[in-house]
């Protein structure tokens, strides 16, 4: 038997026939592709490239995942049989296969059962498109589960990407116009807002806390900025004032929640509530319309975030580029700078981080301050997008920021994850929202589905250890 267990399965005699079958299948798929290509009179070079690509991909998928899956479980069951001192048998192998893949089999079972039930109850459900969608989902489920075993640290990122790809394919099959330019642009704009709002939440989560003041800060800055502009303050100065206020409130959050780290989320909730109340009181003084602010949004702010915004002549709103720049800076910074590494050190283990002279207090204040800044920035940009101040504009972000962090795979226990993961989470959420809206689901059903979605996602990567192991 080979030394490396990862390569062992591919050399065992069990799988040799499987590999031949795979070769034949790959050749068949490539041949069909080539046939279609020539039938459509595509240029010969394209057809050759595509055929080679299809062949390689099919062979890789088959050998790398399907064969390995079968072989690994066969190997495991044989090892179990040897331990028990019995002869390996087909029945035992089957049992071993079933017990090693409970999750996948349960998922497949639910999928098939759901499909059968739906096609029996809903007339017109059993179409080729739906059948294909179900098959695609099943294949994606099996592939994701098997393939994710090969990943260690970045497993959640891989699963997130697979979920993103799956939803994207399913959505583009089922929703008309999903792949159109305007739709993708609008998805990206919303993803940029959510991504910017989630910057602070991700950093706070890496440190092991939660910030629930984000939605209130977004709403407050949205209303407050328009109010300041309405007072006649030049708009760039107004934006700076709002951002400074956000930094101050974020710092206050950190200051107040540092002594009570277990209850950081309740402290921030209280601060958020007070901020939103105070902002509304200040903006309503002398106005008969409480809670509403009317005014003219400056053109440069609208251009920054509105759907028809233009960046240096390109018809894409600058907010998308801002988000991309922030994301690259954060991903790079968390990975390669001392600050980023210290943040992970603190999130992973407070005591050992303090032993190497990392100031817990400073980092705690820092991440909450950044959170305050990013929330107010999002609020200001949202003003440019909507063109009117509204205190409730931040409300969806209460759970969206949290869900994006969690779905991406940043552990809420601290010390693991990062902004790259969050970007995946944001995109998954946004594509899912667009899909659910596209198939005509109402808001309350969307909310219900998000609620049910968060739990299994967290269960995938943020399970606490059993109490037994903590003694």
């Amino acid at each position: 038997m080979a030394e490396n267990p990862l390569f062992a399965p591919l050399t065992t005699p069990v799988v040799r026939p499987l590999r031949w079958i795979g070769l034949a299948l790959a050749a068949l798929i490539a041949a069909i592709g080539a046939g279609f290509g020539f039938a459509q009179h595509a240029p010969t070079q394209y057809v050759i490239f595509t055929t080679a690509g299809t062949f390689t991909l099919a062979l890789w998928l088959w050998n790398g995942f399907f064969v390995r899956w079968i072989a690994e479980s066969a190997l495991l069951s044989r090892a179990a049989a040897e331990r028990a001192g019995r002869q390996a048998s087909a029945r035992m192998a089957l049992r071993g296969f079933a017990s090693g893949n409970k999750g996948v089999l349960a998922g497949l079972g639910i999928l098939i059962l759901g499909f059968i039930v739906l096609s029996l109850t809903l007339t017109g459900f059993l179409t080729w498109l739906n059948l294909f969608t179900a098959l695609f989902l099943a294949a994606s489920l099996v592939f994701t589960t098997i393939a994710s075993r090969a990943f260690g640290d970045n497993r959640s990122a891989f699963i997130g990407l697979m979920v993103l790809g799956t939803i994207f394919v399913v959505a583009s099959l089922n929703v008309e116009g999903f792949l159109s330019g305007p739709n993708i642009k609008s998805m990206l704009v919303f993803a940029a807002f959510l991504g910017l709002a989630t910057v602070g939440q991700t950093l706070v989560a890496v440190l092991g806390g939660l910030d629930l003041s984000i939605p209130f800060l977004i709403g407050s800055s949205n209303v407050g900025l328009l109010y300041l502009i309405g007072l006649g303050i030049p708009s760039p100065i107004a934006v700076i004032l709002v951002l400074v206020a956000g930094v101050a409130i974020g710092f206050l959050n950190g200051l107040l929640s540092f002594p009570l780290q277990g209850q950081a989320l309740i402290v921030t909730l209280g601060v958020g509530f007070a901020t939103s109340g105070l902002t509304q009181i200040l903006t309503s003084i002398g106005s008969s319309y409480a809670g509403n602010v009317y005014g003219q949004v400056p053109a440069w702010l609208s251009n920054l975030a509105a759907m028809n915004g233009v960046t240096f002549g390109i018809a894409i709103p600058p907010v998308i580029f801002i988000w991309i720049a922030v994301a690259i800076a954060l991903i790079f910074g968390l990975k390669n700078t001392v600050y980023g590494r210290y943040l992970y050190a603190l999130g992973g283990n407070r005591t050992s981080a303090q032993r190497i002279q990392i100031s817990e207090r400073r980092y705690w204040y820092g991440v909450f301050t950044i959170s305050g800044f990013s929330s107010t920035l999002t609020g200001s940009l949202l003003l440019g997008w909507s063109g009117g101040g509204f205190i409730g504009v931040g409300d969806p972000y209460l759970f969206m920021t949290l869900a994006a962090v969690v779905i991406g795979g940043t552990s809420l226990l601290g010390g693991h994850g990062g902004y790259g993961f969050t970007v995946i989470g944001v995109l998954v959420l946004q594509v899912l929202t667009a899909f659910l809206v596209g198939i005509g689901l109402k808001f309350e059903w969307q909310q219900f589905i998000y609620g049910l979605l968060i739990l299994p996602m967290v269960a995938l990567y943020a399970r606490s250890p059993h109490i037994r192991t903590q003694i």
Binding site: G262, V267, S276, G277, L278, I281, A290, Q447, F448, Q470
Partner: protein, 471 residues
Amino acid sequence: MSSAVSTARGTSYNTFLLVPILLFFGLMTVAVLRSPSLVTSSGIGSAEIVVAPLILSTYALMATALAGRATVDLSIGPLIGFINVTMIQLHAAGIISSPIAVFAYSLFAGVVYQIVFGLIVIWVRVQPIIVSLSGYLALSGINLVILPRPGGAAPDWMSGWGSGTTIFSPSIIMVAVATLGWLIFSATPFYGHLRLMGSDERAAYTSGVRIGVVRIGAHVVCGLFAGLASLSFTGLISSGDPTQGTTYTLISVTALVLGGTSLAGGRATVFGSLLGALNLFLIGYVLSTFDFGAVQGFVTDLCYGLILVLSLLMTVALPYLQRWLRNVSPFIVFVVLGLLFTGVALHATYDYTALSPHAGAPPAPVADQAAGNQDDAAAPQRPPMNPEIFAPVLEQVQEGPDFARTLLSTRTSQLAVLLLAIVIALRLLVWQASQRRLTPLLYAAIGVGGVLGVWLLMNTTALVARLGHGH
């Protein structure tokens, strides 16, 4: 020596109750001075039906907060709403209508939800806060699906619950039963296990406590309280409302924290939670007596947020407070402030003009309604009327301002208060006598002062009348 140690421990454990007690009497004083109708029969009646769901949902949170792991069930509000809307819909469908069925249904629904919650926390080992967020989203979505807009009708036998004309409404009976139930529950060994698990789960596990069972037990208690809260909420609005229940999340978390419950687990008292909920109601009540115009709601938001943060910070300051205030018993503070407050309430609601002989003919409606009492005042020689002794103390008076006067001028209540004051004073003297400090003297002085105060209150009628005659 041993008694001193035990006393010190006994008093310092409850020091955190000082804050809610002080706040309670402060708010009560302001409320009564600004709006004396609060302490009339109908004032108390309408206040208690509003405050009952809040008290019960705070109790529900208390049960799980005690279990540790920062189990703050943020989904309590949507859960109340969920039971409310499903109950209304089931009633509309004619499935449940009798009181037994409605009670059984709402308690059952609350318990089932909470058991599922607990099982997820135990088996999937996801942080409770994530489970509760997930439940918040899912339930608030599904509530809108079940009942898209407020409507429907509560069962007929429930329709009188929301009128709030009497003190002994079903809501207050539920609160009383819940409070009593919790007091009995806290005498069981199970409660001891629960507190042990909340303050140190590992210690509980290693000393053989079956932590899974205990956690489920805490959730069952929480579910029962949630069911009761939903019943009193339904009684309050007499219909179904998919969104209003959700607002209970933030205020009951605030009430919980205000009542001195530690969100880290292991420390909670029913008295504290009760006071916390009452304080929160009083804050809203006091604010509503001021006229803030259009920003009324925002001022309330601001105050709730500030009080949430401040009371959380109090838990940080608690160790320092305990060092300074070790010899102050919250119980005595409560009694002393209670007596002071009675004086204030009496002052606020006393009808001085009716007593003064210079006023000639007293203001008509009050004097006519309580003619017997006016006669007493005018002619101090005559003893109080006999029938008053047999009449129910509170139900007799329908008109507002002279409730307190009637309460204190009936002989039964005078005797009861006097007896209570003497018993408390004696009890405190005996309790403190073993310590060689000055505190017994202080307590003796307070006790004598209390007795003197009661005597004065008893004879106010006569005194005032005599002073009036003296002029």
